[in-house]
């Protein structure tokens, strides 16, 4: 790791101010992506601005079907929240399968979606839940927020403060983990609500997480795993690496989608 300067922000405003003053600053939340990258000398911010001690960015609130999760909430907190489980168990189960216990107790939902790793789990849920991403400057619909691989609509100094969504009637997440990293090789979040079915897919797409609209339409008229039988995602749009060919990933997307539907 290169030498860097650590700053602890007490509020969102202070964090933004510190970022303005830094030469090449980076926000750090759980550090589960940023710190390994710095250790490998692939990132060298001169300042780290720690968001973990900002009270406003923490916690889960559930009121009726309205859910708000502070950006600084850890995966373990999401996984363990009984309030959240009572309205949207799918997201709790998703969070409970991210990485390992160490990662889940450090990593945050804000860090995960800001990083937008094409194999990260949360983006699939954000798309399927039609979530709104709150920042210190604006509100962004999930679909506008995730721009591409490791790319979001965030500006350099913009801070995600929370995500919010209306809990669907039913939802489930099904993930096939990469054998080495245990990130998603294909993760499919299916949400069924008043305005239809939404299907978010992560781990597989060349441009990061995406909505599988054909599946949404098919499930909208027949909500059963069998409704997906005739469908397929285009292997040409899939990622390909050591662990999975594009064809294999296309297959996994369908299999995971069917399993998510079957689990609902």
């Amino acid at each position: 790791m290169y030498e860097t300067h650590y700053h602890r922000a007490g509020s969102v405003d202070e964090a933004a101010k510190l970022m303005g003053e830094a030469e090449s600053g980076k926000y750090v939340a759980g550090g589960q992506t940023l710190i390994p990258t710095m250790k490998q000398r692939l990132a060298a911010p001169d300042s780290l601005i720690d968001l973990r001690h900002i009270a406003d960015m923490k916690g889960i609130s559930v009121s009726g079907k309205d859910v708000r999760i502070g950006a600084g909430t850890t995966h373990a907190e999401v996984a363990g929240s009984s309030d959240l489980a009572s309205v949207c168990p799918g997201i709790c189960s998703l969070a409970g399968h991210i990485g390992d216990p160490h990662v889940r107790h450090m990593g945050t939902i804000g860090g995960s979606i800001s990083n937008n790793d094409p194999a990260a789990d949360y983006p699939a849920a954000m798309l399927a839940l039609n979530a709104t991403i709150h920042t210190n400057k604006r509100e962004i619909a999930a679909e506008e927020f995730f721009v591409g691989m490791f790319e979001t609509a965030l500006e350099e100094d913009e801070i995600v403060t929370a995500v919010s969504f209306t809990a669907p009637d039913k939802c489930a997440y099904s993930k096939f983990p990469n054998p080495a990293s245990r990130y998603a090789m294909a993760g499919v979040f299916v949400a069924k609500g008043g305005d239809g079915v939404r299907v978010g897919v992560t781990g597989a797409g060349m441009d990061g997480a995406f909505r599988w609209s054909e599946a949404e339409a098919a499930l909208g008229s027949d909500f059963s795993a069998g409704a997906l039988d005739g469908l397929s995602v285009d292997a040409g749009d899939m990622l390909e690496d050591l662990h999975g060919s594009a064809e294999y990933r296309a297959n996994l997307v369908k299999v995971m989608a069917k399993r998510a539907v079957a689990a609902i």
Binding site: Q40, P179, A180, S181, L242, H243, Y248, N251, V255
Partner: protein
């Protein structure tokens, strides 16, 4: 004898310090004035070094010195060597390319060390290492051994034309070809034995200390064999004469073979300590471990097995190309030859055997022994071809094996080895019973009803431990002898120290070696200490690898105990005024048999040291040394059977049951043996299901250089094992031990692959059988 003697399931003495984080590893060592090193490493797989500019690095904060290869050459530090000479079949010696500890003319793999930077802190050393400018002229690279041997491949060492190291053979080719030509059936398979990264939990490390006043060097390092390290560093690398070089291998966190070898870093730290005048410590980070620890396996094989009309094996032929990486590591040459090819008889009577072995240089990290060293490669090829033959012949895999088993011992194979003892059918029967082999069809049908593909596969392995005897291996090209030494020191109060050349880095020697003493003298293991790993404390010894600590290391202890026992009895006979032949040692008492005349063990010890009343002419003291050079290898064998269930939609394999029935001869501590088997199985299952090492074919970059891409086995990847033992003692050592350290990793991969290919009905599947590969094989079937 006793609660803590041979055969007792004693908890490991050393575990308290390991479990509580109190182990003392090389990185825990600190000496006054110590500074930290980082290596400048090649980012290219193959390049000419045109120049090195360290001027900027030298000016950076905390930097004490930047040293490169040219200076080391001037100082007369020698090149790294391979310690076993193999001759090609045309009689020519193997082509050993020059391996400089710090490359000065050319780099040959990504990670090749070019310079060392010494600085006040580790971070400063790393920052400065990055500022060293090396001017490279990048050359084309080759990473596969098959490609390296093709005409026109990049030439890696000038003295190895076409990158060939040797083209060696063993066995009777004519007889084999004739048997194949006249066979009723021939099964042929093309197989790849996947390359593995050893991944010891503790990364390699070295602390080199030069004492100018004494003109003496001390090296703390992560070694499985500190005496061999000292020998090689003084005799070949000219670091220092042996009497001026102390090598200490304190607690070592796993080796699996990768810490047998003497690497560039420890030599360089010692040399750099003298050059800079400060003690120099280097500890690898995980990326360096991936890039620079010697890898294992990497064979490409065509194997043929011929049968007569009665399904008796008539011949076996193996043709293999092995990848030895960019340089010949210390024992790299012997792994594919005398640790691999001569095992091709397996558990079977095979009248004619031939193995051809070509080895090649590639632009990858050196490849050397890794848990099993050569025998896993043999077992994989042999046990997959037997299983495949059974399928082709339409007979039960168990019965085909049974029909061809060796049933008389000693058994002379056509390829040098003579097996000591065994009962292969006993292991097979035990394993089949443990897994309820006969009930498999019903379980398969039940799984099918759930949409799962279920398969069963077995492997009947043999392996060879405690490579020996020294005279014979010398005639086969070994540069060292492979005996072991032990000294038993009985202290004046009766407590005992065992000084052994067998280094312990996870094997539990501190417990099992103490059990031998407890068994002999009836003293508690708590009063027995095992001293190892320090060339200043322990007499010359050969170290730990090849499952030799039991059959060879413990045998030396037994020989030394014999001498101590004899002297103790002489002293007791003198004091008790009895005949020496009437003295027995029982439960910590030295007694005249059949009487109540007795001395406590500690009283005999004290008498040996007070020397007030010893037999005439007897020297005081109670301390004896012995060296043991076995007459032959020992031959553990066994049967592993695995049952899997595969999800056809995703290709994911679940191991439903894994049984291992092993014959390790006599067992000193069953719990430790089970632990060794469990660990070995984890590594074998890792090889078969999870671990794949991948280099980019063009750039030679290691693509699987972190745990994000290299799949280390995790607890939830592994089943609960069912392990048991059958026992045929080895007649070749006093304890009847055969060795158990590697069998798990040797026997398991083919059992698993046989089970998976059985489940999916497609034999065209290579390790690691990842979900994607299994899914593709299902869909291609």
């Amino acid at each position: 004898m006793g609660m803590e003697g041979i055969g007792a399931r004693v908890a490991r003495k050393e575990d308290k310090r390991f479990i509580t984080g109190k182990g003392r590893y090389t990185d825990d060592m600190s000496v006054p004035g110590m500074k930290h090193a980082a290596f400048v490493r090649s980012p290219h797989a193959h390049a000419v070094i045109k120049g090195i500019d360290s001027s900027e690095a030298e000016k950076m904060p905390g930097v004490i010195g930047v040293l490169a290869g040219a200076e080391m050459t001037t100082d007369g530090i020698g090149s790294l060597i391979c310690g076993w000479m193999i001759h090609s079949k045309d009689g020519s010696p193997m082509n050993m390319g020059d391996w400089r500890p710090l490359a000065d003319k050319k780099v040959r793999y990504v990670g090749d060390a070019v310079a060392i930077v010494v600085a006040d802190t580790k971070a400063q050393a790393r920052d400065a290492a990055e500022a060293v400018k090396v001017d490279y002229d990048v050359l084309p690279a080759v990473t596969s051994a098959v490609d390296a041997l093709k005409p026109g491949a990049p030439q890696i060492h000038d003295n190895a034309p076409g990158n060939q190291i040797y083209d060696w053979e063993i066995g009777d080719l004519d007889a084999v070809d004739k048997a194949i030509a006249s066979a009723a059936h021939v099964t042929t398979l093309d197989l790849v034995n996947n390359r593995l990264v050893p991944n010891a939990m503790e990364p390699r490390a070295a602390l080199g200390v030069y004492d100018e006043a004494e003109d003496h060097y001390t090296c703390w390092t992560t070694s499985q064999n500190p005496h061999v390290a000292r020998l090689v560093m003084s005799a070949f690398y000219n670091v220092a004469p042996e009497n001026k070089l102390r090598v200490i291998a304190p607690d070592v966190g796993g080796g699996f073979g990768s810490k047998i070898y003497i690497y560039p870093e420890e030599i360089t730290c010692l040399w750099a300590s003298k050059k800079t005048g400060v003690p120099v410590k280097w500890v690898a980070d995980r990326t360096e471990s991936f890039l620079t620890d010697a890898h294992g396996r990497d064979h490409v094989t065509t194997i043929q097995m011929a049968f007569d009309a009665d399904n008796k094996i008539t011949a076996l032929k193996a043709d293999t190309i092995a990848n030895l990486g960019a340089y010949m590591s210390l024992f790299s040459s012997v792994v594919p030859t005398y640790l691999h090819a001569i095992l091709y008889s397996g558990q079977y009577v095979i009248p004619a055997i031939h193995c051809n072995m070509r080895t090649a240089y590639t632009n990858t990290v050196p490849v050397d022994a890794y848990r099993g060293a050569g025998r896993p490669e043999t077992t994989y090829a042999l046990e997959r071809v037997v299983e495949t033959a059974a399928r082709e012949l339409g007979v039960s895999p168990a019965e085909l094996r049974r029909k061809n088993f060796i049933r008389e011992w000693p058994y002379q194979t056509p390829v040098i080895l003579q097996y000591d003892s065994g009962d292969y059918e006993a292991s097979l029967d035990a394993a089949m019973k443990a897994i309820d082999y006969d009930g498999f069809p019903a379980r398969k049908a039940e799984a099918e009803a759930r949409g799962k593909k279920r398969g069963i596969g077995m492997s009947c392995y043999i392996e060879a431990c405690g490579i020996a005897p020294s005279q014979a291996i010398g005639s086969l090209g070994a540069g060292v002898g492979l005996w072991e030494s032990a000294e038993i020191r009985v202290n004046a109060v009766g407590t005992v120290e065992i000084l052994t050349g067998s280094h312990s880095h996870g094997q539990g020697h501190e417990t099992t070696f103490a059990q031998l003493v407890s068994d002999r003298f009836g003293v508690p293991i708590d009063s027995v200490s095992v001293v190892h790993g320090d060339t200043d404390k322990v007499q010359m010894g050969m170290g730990t690898y090849g499952s030799r600590s039991g059959p060879v290391g413990m045998s030396a202890v037994v020989k030394a105990l014999d001498k101590v026992e004899k002297k103790a009895k002489m002293i007791a006979a003198h004091l008790l005024e009895a005949d020496e032949s009437d003295i027995v040692i029982e439960n910590g008492q030295v007694k005249v048999a059949g009487t109540d005349k007795a001395l406590g063990w500690h009283e005999v010890a004290l008498n040996a040291y007070t020397a007030h009343n010893l037999p005439a002419e007897m020297e005081p003291g109670l301390k004896e040394t012995a060296f043991f050079d076995p007459a032959n290898f020992s031959f553990p064998a066994g049967c592993h059977i695995c049952e899997v269930e595969i999800d056809p939609d995703t290709g994911k394999t679940e191991i439903v049951k894994f049984v291992a029935s092993d014959d390790f001869g006599n067992i000193i501590n069953p719990m430790i043996v089970e632990g060794q088997v469990h660990g070995g199985l984890a590594q074998g299952i890792g090889q078969a299901l999870l671990e794949g090492t991948s280099y980019d074919a063009e750039t030679g970059q290691l693509l699987t250089a972190t745990y994000m891409d290299y799949t280390m086995p995790r607890a939830d990847d592994l089943p609960s094992y069912t392990v048991s033992n059958t026992v045929t003692p080895s007649p070749l050592n006093p304890l009847g031990i055969k060795g158990c350290g590697e069998a798990g990793a040797i026997g398991s991969p083919p059992a698993l692959m046989n089970a998976i290919t059985d489940a999916i009905g497609n034999n065209n599947l290579s390790m690691p059988a990842t979900p994607q590969k299994v899914w593709a094989a299902i869909n291609a079937a």
